[in-house]
Each structure stands twice: as structure tokens, then as C-alpha cells.
């Protein structure tokens, strides 16, 4: 009996193992073949609202992009329960993670996430985003700052709502590089090996174009290439030490770098720790960009997501976020509130820039399609020389 029983049990176990492997294969095959579920660009679906937002939502945002109090306050006011995760570290990385899901019409449980202009545009073109139902967004309609109302990629603000805006310019160590005032100054041999630039095509290259006297707006592929060549030369000569993400902060603090291309909000925070660090508006002007809240396809509870957008577009709520975040507020009427509560924040040109301060700045340009691929290859060949 026994000698007969065991082989049978083993065969059964083997069968289970084989079945498991086969199943896994099958699942993997499903994952690979998916171009179902979404509609290509053009006919974006609109969010379907329920009467009242209830339940819970998951929001994905960048790290250090909100104060500690806003989420609990929102929960208290609306009765919703929010899972707020900080899992967006870079647009491309986030896209690589989300693409397989969004392709299937799923958002991985996220009701809303935040990406930069060009990525919002790209996701929209791929049919990965839903249009807002504006009837639930009265605050957004009323309080969005005028200069962000009609961006070229979303002229009616149908699918993107700015979370924060910012400027890309120069951050220097006042004590070690007092006379760096323009992008062109970054190429001064005096600072050889002490200059760093962002490893972001759309930040670094347009700024260098400005130094070359080229207007990044409507620049041709050849114009971009000229700037990339200049960066390449400076890399090969050892002028540029390395290309960074926001880890330039550590290099500025230690003095490994004395002048870098960096982001305005970072500078405010770095300066608080080290008064020798200072953001400077390049004489050539800066690059302006926004990170935007978007509602992806397959988002659970989009009604609650719109409730959230409407909530942060209430000036008093935005003021609370702004006092912590230090980037540029996309919401009107926040400054008067902060003038009373946090006058130093309200008077900071990096947080509430005046028109004259940003007069030479350019909205972040974004090449697409084959041009984008060529420029990406050329730029990253320099970054990974």
C-alpha cells in the first residue's frame, strides 16, 4: 500500500508545480500582450462623478511636497480617508513603473498623482488620463493663477491642475563663487571641476541655449544640439564635475561644488541650513515649470480626487502647504494670507516671484517623438560620457 501511495502523491505534487509554472507563464503572457483597455489620444474620457465623495483615496506625490497637517485637515473636513504616498521621484522612473498598469487601464489603486508638465502631456497623448468634471472644481476655476490658465499642452486645463510651480536657475556658494551670475559664468575656467548641472534634458539644455543666445521656445533640433555640444566640451575639459538630481545639495554643502544648475524650492530649503547657499536668477533668465495633479484612467473614487483638488485650491488651505513647501504657488490670493501669518515666506521672491523678477524666463520646452529620442540620446551620451 505504502509503496504505491507515495509515488502517486509525488506525481500529484509535480502536477501542481507544473500547473503553477504554466499559470505563471500564462499570466506573464497576458501582461506582455496588452494594448487593450485604453483609447488612443484624442477621445479622453471624462471623470464620472458621484453625488458625494465618500470612502478612501490614494494620492501619489513627490517627497517633501506637503506639510504634515493638510492631509489630516482634509480628512476631518470631508470624512474621506487618504492614503498619501511619496513614490514619485522622477517623471521617467514613475512612468516606467506605471506604464504597464496604465496600458491595461489601471492605476495601481491611485486616484490621483502628480507629474511635471511634459509628462502630463505625454500621458494624455497616450490616453492614460481622464478629463476633469469641472462642476466639482469651483475653487480651481476661480483661483488658478492667470499665467498658468492656458498652457500650450492643455489650453483649457481639462486634465491637469498645477500642484506647485518652480524655477530652474543657478544655486551658488556665495563665499566660494561670488561672481557667478549667469549661465555663461558656469563655463568660467576659474571654477573648473566645481560646477554641476542637472541630469535633466529639459532643464539643463534650454538654460545653456539661453547662454548661447538661442531662445529655447521654438528652438530647432539643431539649436538643442548646439547647446548639448557646448555641455559636452565642458564635460570633457573637466569643467563640469558631474550631473546630478537634487543630490547637488550635498555637494554644495560640502563645497565639492560651488555653482550648480538647480531648482528654486530646493534653494530655499538649503539656504535655511547654510546661509552661504543662494539661488540666483541667471542674467539670461530661468526655466519655469509646473508639477500637476492628474487623474489617471482606472482611478478608483475620482469624485474624492476632485474633492482633493478643489480643497487645495482654497487659498487658506494652499497657504498652509505653501508655508512648508517653498515652491511657487499656483493658487491666487495666498500671499495676503501668508503676509499675516508668515511674512518672510510671503516676501520671498522665490516663492512669490514678481513679474519683473521672471521677465526673462521661459516656460519649459519639451521636444517630442523622434526629436525627443535623438536629443535624449545625445544628452545622455554626455551625461554618461
Amino acid at each position: 500500500m505504502v509503496s504505491e501511495k507515495h509515488p502517486r502523491r509525488i506525481t500529484a505534487l509535480l502536477a501542481v508545480a507544473v500547473a503553477a509554472v504554466a499559470l505563471a507563464f500564462g499570466l506573464a503572457a497576458c501582461g506582455g500582450g496588452g494594448d487593450s483597455g485604453i483609447n488612443g489620444g484624442g477621445e479622453t474620457e471624462e471623470v464620472k462623478l458621484e453625488k458625494k465623495a465618500t470612502g478612501d483615496i490614494t494620492i501619489s506625490n513627490w517627497p517633501l511636497y506637503i506639510d504634515k497637517q493638510t492631509v489630516p485637515d482634509f480628512e476631518k473636513e470631508t470624512g474621506l480617508s487618504v492614503k498619501y504616498i511619496e513614490d514619485v521621484n522622477a517623471n521617467e522612473e514613475f512612468f516606467a513603473k506605471m506604464d504597464p498598469l496604465l496600458k491595461q487601464g489601471e492605476s495601481g489603486g491611485r486616484s490621483l498623482f502628480v507629474v511635471t508638465d511634459w509628462m502630463a502631456n505625454k500621458m494624455h497623448e497616450l490616453g492614460y488620463l481622464q478629463n476633469f468634471d469641472k462642476s466639482a472644481l469651483p475653487n480651481f476655476e476661480k483661483n488658478l493663477v492667470a499665467n498658468l490658465k492656458e498652457p500650450s499642452y492643455d489650453p483649457k486645463r481639462e486634465f491637469s491642475a498645477p500642484w506647485q510651480s518652480g524655477m530652474t536657475g543657478i544655486i551658488v556658494r556665495k563665499d566660494l563663487a561670488p561672481d557667478v551670475k549667469s549661465i555663461c559664468d558656469l563655463f568660467d575656467p576659474k571654477y573648473k571641476g566645481k560646477v554641476e548641472m542637472l541630469n535633466e534634458l529639459r532643464d539643463t539644455v534650454p538654460l545653456v541655449m539661453k547662454c548661447l543666445g538661442i531662445d529655447p521656445e521654438g528652438a530647432s533640433e539643431g539649436d538643442w544640439m548646439k547647446a548639448i555640444d557646448k555641455i559636452k566640451e565642458a564635460t570633457e575639459s573637466g569643467q563640469i564635475r558631474r550631473f546630478t538630481g537634487n543630490d547637488y545639495g550635498a555637494d554644495l554643502t560640502s563645497g565639492n561644488a560651488v555653482a550648480v544648475i538647480g531648482w528654486s524650492g530646493d534653494a530655499v530649503q538649503l539656504q535655511a541650513d547654510n546661509p552661504n547657499i543662494e539661488w540666483r536668477m541667471p542674467t539670461e533668465g530661468c526655466i519655469l515649470w509646473s508639477d500637476n495633479m492628474v487623474i489617471p484612467v482606472g482611478a478608483p473614487n475620482p469624485t474624492a480626487a476632485e474633492e482633493w483638488i478643489n480643497y487645495v485650491y482654497e487659498p487658506k488651505n494652499e497657504a498652509q502647504i505653501e508655508a512648508y513647501v517653498n515652491y511657487v504657488s499656483p493658487v491666487e490670493n495666498v500671499k495676503p494670507i501668508l503676509l499675516k501669518e508668515e511674512p518672510e515666506v510671503a516676501k520671498n521672491q522665490l516663492i512669490f516671484p514678481s513679474k519683473s523678477f521672471t521677465k526673462n524666463c521661459t516656460i519649459q520646452p519639451s521636444p517630442t517623438g523622434e526629436e525627443e529620442q535623438n536629443l535624449n540620446r545625445a544628452f545622455n551620451a554626455v551625461v554618461n560620457g
Partner: protein, 282 residues
Amino acid sequence: MRRRVVPYFLLGPGAAWLLLFFVVPLYYLAELSLNGGVFGSYEFDWHWANYSDALSLYDTQFIRSFVYAGLATLFALLLAYPLAYTIAFKAGRWRNLFLFAVVAPFFTTYLIRTLAWETILSDQSPVVSVLDTLGLAPEGHVLATGGAVIAGLTYNFLPFMVLPIYASLERIDVRLIEAGKDLYASASQTFFRVTLPLSAPGVVAGTLLTFIPASGDYVNAQFLGSASNQMIGNVIQSLYLKQSDYPAAAALSFVLMAAILILVLIYIRFAGSESLMGEEAV
């Protein structure tokens, strides 16, 4: 019946694991590497140009990776052999403590240890000013140079070199070494004709365990290197996560895998010859 089934049964879980997490992803990687088109609309169309592009665009980084990994392996070997030898034969009751010291860095993550090097070698640090006075920092800084990347690789993979060498040294029958002395061999003759050949398997294992991961490493080059010291791992990372050029990244990964495989086969062909495996000494 039972005897015939049991080995397969024992192989089952391992085989299923490899199939699921190695063969299947490899298949998709291969398919991806032959996709054409641009970001957002990649399509499978036997796009072999990805491979020729990968080789022609990134040959510098390939060569650099193997040079860096090779040098790091060499330095690790030069550091590890005497260390392993001391622990195996001379450490006495301190042996376990020394072994613990070799493994201890693993209690901190690899990333943190590399970041610590960034601090140790930062431009204003005392280490760098000493090196500078000795004329060892011609560019005025040590960070953001090839030397820093090689040093980081050597440091990070050193335990992988020490442990296999130690294991093979420790297994050596001491009577063989005594026999060498009895037969009037000098200390160095005994070492080169008895000890070294007998520890060769450990050396081969150690060099492979160091060289293979070091060639694909990107952390050291990212934090300790400049734009001109980036390795092939950095290129793949950047292609995949920064440029979203998945087909090119996949093709490059395949080329890297093939290149390492060929180098390792050549190495084993030579290192695996009988004299080095200790046949002569036995």
C-alpha cells in the same frame, strides 16, 4: 519508481524558480530588445539595429567597465590574499574575530557605504589634502575621478574575494606544507608550489565573484565618478529610467551579459587548467 522520481522532485522548486525568475524575464528582455519605434509606441519588429547601436554608441563605456572591474579585481586580490592567508594560518584564536571583521561591513547597506566614501574623499577632507601633498591627486580632487571609482569597487567587493580564498586556504592539509619543508623547499618555494596551487579554486571563485558584479555596477560610478567615469551599468540605468528607451536598454543588457560570459569562459579555460587547480602539487 520512487528512486527515479525523487531527484526530479528535489530539482523541481529550484528549476521552477529559475524558469520563472530568470528564463521568463530573459525571454521578455530579448523580445523588448528587438522592439523598434519611439517612446510611447514601441513595437516588436526584429529591430536588430538596437544591438549595433548599443555597441557603436557605448563601446567606450564597455571597455571602461571591464578595465575598472579588472583593476578592482586585481587590487582586491592583492589585498585579500595576504589577509586570508593571515586569518587562515596566523590568526590563532583571533580567527573568528577577523572573519567577523571582514563580514561586518555587510551589516550596513552597500549604498550607505559608498556614500560614506563620498564623505571621506570630499574635496575638503584631510584624506584628500594628504593625497594632494603626496602628489596623488593631480586634478586637485579625488572624488569624480576614475581612481575613486576603482577604489570604491575594490572596497565594496573585497569580502567576496577574501571569503572564498580563506575557505580554500583553511581546507589545506597542513601536513602537505610540512612535507614541502621536509623536502628542503624554501618558504617561498613551498608557498608557490604547494599553498598557492591548492588555494587556486578559491582565487578563481573570488575573482569571478568580484569581477562579474563589478562590471555591471553603477552605484560607485554614480557617486564617486564624474561624467567621464560612467560605466555600462549607468548607461543601462539611464536608458531605462531617464530616457525611457527600453529597447536600447534591453539590447545593451544582452550585450553586457554576452560579453561577461565570454570573458568568464576564456578566464576559466585558462585558470581551470590542471596545473592551477592543484593537480601538480597533489
